[in-house]
């Protein structure tokens, strides 16, 4: 009998792949991982010296996967240089959901990077994000514009972690300063939202002043499409709508400024 148990156990352990579901939060992926690092390298090499950039910002895919598929098809028609996903790639952060949204985003013809949203933290979700996409704070430079992507999901850490990470922001203000003149700030949750550490909203705004040529900020999370001067000082915050509402924004960045298109598909 023991022999059978042993054989059976070996079969079970060795045969586990794809067909078998270990656990929704098992952080076990098939397919591509470490996406942001690879895609940032592509973006930086392709658009380093571009005069104009066409960047699509999408957000909050959650489980509206059919809408997300249509969104990807729509973005593909509009000739953008690259795509930034502002977070909430999943609804309950299971490994399967991470794979589902990744597989859809991989349909994009243009390179893409993705931020972490608050929903992507559930269970072992933040570990999954780390494996599939990479660091939660990251930046890249295209067309002499630095895109600083910040993790602002402070609530997920009970406000105990350095979120937003001011050290990272200080580094980014000066790092590679010869290669960029302007900055765009991307985050999932905007200041004064339920996820932001609202005790530091004003300090956060002060820090933004030190970024060279800060143009505007982009965020997701709220599932709406408002354009707001949150601090009443001229700095615009563009909200990117969720996949369900079938809206997103494309920014065309020129040496003189930028144009924003609000796309409905």
């Amino acid at each position: 009998m023991k022999k059978y148990v042993l054989i059976l156990t070996t079969c079970m352990l060795s045969a586990c792949d794809g067909l078998f579901d270990i656990h929704p939060y098992d952080v076990k992926f098939s397919g591509e991982t470490g996406i942001n690092k690879k895609q940032m390298a592509v973006i930086e090499s392709h658009f380093k010296n571009s005069d104009t950039l066409r960047v699509a910002f999408i957000s909050d895919t959650h489980l509206w996967l059919s809408d997300a598929r249509d969104q990807v098809a729509d973005v593909n028609k509009r000739n953008v240089d690259f795509v930034v996903h502002c977070g909430d790639l999943t609804d309950t952060a299971t490994a399967k959901e991470y794979e589902w949204s990744r597989d859809i985003l991989q349909g994009l013809k243009a390179p893409f990077v993705a931020l972490i949203g608050n929903h992507d933290y559930l269970g072992t979700g933040d570990q999954s994000y780390g494996v599939m996409y990479g660091d939660k704070d990251f930046s890249f430079i295209a067309g002499r514009v630095k895109f600083v992507c910040l993790n602002t999901n402070a609530t997920e850490y009970d406000y105990l972690a350095a979120v937003p990470n001011f050290d990272f922001m200080e580094e980014e203000m000066v790092k590679d300063s010869a290669q960029f003149d302007r900055t765009i700030l991307v985050m999932h949750a905007p200041p004064y939202s339920d996820q932001f550490n609202n005790n530091v909203c004003k300090a956060f705004r002060r820090y933004l002043d030190y970024f060279p040529g800060l143009m505007f900020c982009v965020y997701g999370h709220n599932h709406d499409d408002v354009v707001e001067d949150i601090y009443n000082d001229g700095l615009l915050f563009y909200s990117i709508d969720c996949a369900q509402h079938r809206k997103y924004r494309i920014f065309t960045i020129t040496p003189d400024g930028y144009e924003m298109e609000h796309i409905t598909y």
Partner: protein, 232 residues
């Protein structure tokens, strides 16, 4: 809290069922004139037989099924045709790309409505008997241990933000089939029968996903295979 109470009450009810089943069967076997027992002896007998129903009837081992790479545990089978079963299992989720491996526990109820003998004319005493159960339906609650998982949303979230879910508890459902070999009496050592089974199942989060969007059914279904070794 309500999850704990639910789990405990399910466990207690499932444990009570075999006791009831045994009670129903016992009068028929006691046909011989019983010697006069004192009130105390009757009490002991009653108590022993009740507690005896808590002795596990089988051991179970199975893989996957959203419970870990492999889970093992004990179980109780009851009902006239052993058509009901309750399993208590502990499983292990390997580290994969996460920070560490995790332990899970599962309480599982199985129902097998039909049992077909595959060799009705065979020599059961010599070669044993093969039974096929064309359908097994299972419902189980899996708990995963670790500080990342909460049973209801922590206070940091806005009210009712994650009201629909718990990251710690998963309700799973599965259907499958089973093949049982009843070992001939003369050859029995530790077990009287062995069952091999497979099941295809999914969990609440995946079913919820299906209702929210279009996902192919195969994406939310997982296969599990296992074996049961019956002592009683």
């Amino acid at each position: 809290m309500k999850w704990n109470i639910l789990l405990i009450s399910i466990a207690l009810q499932l444990c009570a069922l075999p006791a009831l089943a045994n009670d129903n069967e016992s009068p028929s076997t006691e046909t011989a004139p019983a010697p006069e027992l004192s009130a105390y002896e009757k009490h002991v007998q009653r108590m022993t037989s009740k507690w005896a129903s808590l002795i596990p009837t089988h051991m179970v081992i199975q893989n996957a099924g959203n419970m870990g790479i492999v889970s093992a545990g004990i179980g109780w089978s009851y009902g006239k045709r052993h058509q009901w079963e309750c399993d208590l299992m502990f499983g292990y989720i390997p580290m994969h790309d996460s920070n560490r491996g995790k332990l899970t526990s599962t309480i599982k109820a199985n129902y097998m409505p039909w049992n077909i003998c595959l060799n009705p004319n065979g020599d059961w005493n010599k070669k044993g008997r093969w039974n096929f159960e064309p359908l097994s339906a299972s419902l189980y609650i899996n708990t995963v241990y670790g500080h990342e998982f909460w049973r209801s949303q922590p206070g940091r979230y806005p009210d009712k933000y994650y009201d629909f879910m718990s990251t710690k508890f998963r309700l799973n459902a599965a259907i499958g089939q089973r093949l049982t070999y009843v070992i001939p009496q003369s050859k029995r050592q530790h077990h009287n029968r062995v069952t091999l089974f497979y099941e295809v199942g999914t969990c609440d989060l995946y079913v919820r996903s299906m209702f929210q969007t279009s996902i192919p059914l195969k994406d939310i279904l997982g296969l599990s295979i296992g074996a049961k070794f019956y002592m009683l």
